[in-house]
Amino acid sequence: MALLRRSEMVIAGILLLAMVLIGTINPAFWQLDNLFSLMRSNVIIGIMAMGVLLVLISGGIDVSFPAFAVAAMYLTVKGMLLIGYNGVVLPLLAATAIGLLCGAVNGFFVYKFRMIPLIVTLGTSAMVRGFLLGVVGTSMININKMPTALIDFARTDVVSVTKADGSTYGLTAMVLIYVGLALAMHLMLRYTMIGRSAYALGGDPEAARRAGFDLRKTIFFIYCVAGALAGFAGLLHSGMIWLANPRDFVGFELDVIAAVVLGGASIFGGRGTVLGTMLGVFMLVMVKNSLIIMKVDTTWQLVAVGLIVIIATALSAWRDRRQPA
């Protein structure tokens, strides 16, 4: 545990250093509205990262959650328009449930057929996206059609500040949802047996089986939670951007996985913490945002994220190999 705490300190240190650096290059970074918008950008990727963290801890990998997120989002919004329902809680539950069901399919294939999770999730991802675009529809649902309740909900601010010129900006309340979910995930990982079973599975699957863990339950739980979080985040995302785009979240898996690995989760399973992941998410979002602030052409973003993945995984591999085997 000491080591994990230390690696979180390292991440936090690097994060601070990067903030100081970026702030020096462009003092606009430290302005409250920039910080608020930065935190806002953490929400969706952060919620999904919680699911990916769980999967990585268990020694698996998931590239299907963006597809689940977009499916949950689009199907729910479509459904709301179809029956003319305008609300928040039920739709969020529905989106979560859709994500959970998709996740259950992943869990089923990973557990039942002992197939490499990457290949399973590649398959389910293609199926879900193909189904969404091929059967449900390809047209975006714009602000003029989006259910107003969702938009109003996602607009809630915790604090709002009025600028000198009269315009206002605030910190979105969605941050509270993110922090709440992260806290729940932390408590789950640390203080429940199912959470510990994820670590056990990632540490040594054979030992976990012998110890009497119900691995079927664990694997289903892991992939269901990852799917459910993705579904929830998907719908929340559409409320926050006032748009439901069935082609959304393409390539998003990389951002999230990068953030989680950046946050100190082991690429070999068995290690990772919520706090580290939150730091990793913040770092990734900050770097991406700062590229814009620092007037770096947006086309470089992919390159930057790719490089971050490579550097983060190289560091993770280097750290984990130094451990006595």
């Binding site: 293609a126 879900v128 470089w300 790719g306 490089l307 993945v309 490579i310 995984t313 591999a317 190999r321």
Partner: protein, 335 residues
Amino acid sequence: MKAQTTAPTLTVRSLINRDNNIVQLLVMTVLIFAVMTALSPDKFLRYYNFESITYIFPELGLLSIAMMIAMLTGGIDLSVVGVANLSGILAGVLFHKMAGAAGIADTGILVVLLGAVVALGTGLVAGTVNGLLITRLGITPILATLGTGQVFTGLAIVLTGGPAIVGFPTAWAFLGNGKIAGLATPFVLFAAIAALIAFILTRTAFGINLMLIGTNPKAALFAGLKRERMVLHSYMLTGVLASVAGIILSGRTNAAKSDYGNSYLLQAVLIAVLGGTNPAGGKGSVLGITIAVVALMLLSSGFQILRFSNHLIDFIWGGFLLLVIVINAYKNRTR
């Protein structure tokens, strides 16, 4: 695959004995063929349909072979599509820079050759980067290639600034569109390269070493195999194959784009697994991949004739991948 000491002649019987998987693949191909024929005999059986398949499948087939080679050592290469696109784009950028007054189409053969060298070189460099990240830095192949794939695609976007590079020399287009002795050029290229790779994998020390390393990396170390070098070379080969796919793709469509063939990644993984490659390493054959890619192309073209959208076909591919997992699981259970 275990051919190195049996009689060199490939009889059908020895083929069956050696690899059950090949027979199953052939049966599946025939089945797909029969079903598609039954569903729309007048359209599916037309010569044009099969000819167009011989133009389309080689690029995917090459990417699948590339994927299989990465899987032989228990790895995977998720950057193949990025490498293919970047190769095409770099060649395209070169042609546009060097195009004379005559226009792109009439670029001289020497420049086209230079373009090919640039494209293949891109694949080689990309593969080397992957290989070094995996062997030297010890990054898991999934994450290393996921990251580099993003970098390659990102560089492609930077180079093109978003839209595609359109317009390639005629000689280049020949690689993707032309005919050699009545056969589609891509098909001829594929056949030649597939045969070469099959030869490399079964008849050279490099190929067999890859199988051994994939079967048991630790034993490979104690047997004195040059593990790191072999794995590095396998990713270099993977990169080069991906760039050939990129050349054919840009030649066929007369354009290079950063997000071309995104669904190819899934399909390449699917074909590799369907073709009998063990994603955990140590087993895989070019013949299996070839039959698998043809089978799935027939399937895809059949669905296209039935007016299924591309998205639905993606859905079917994904479903097929899961189905293959189920079938493999049951096959292994009865053994």
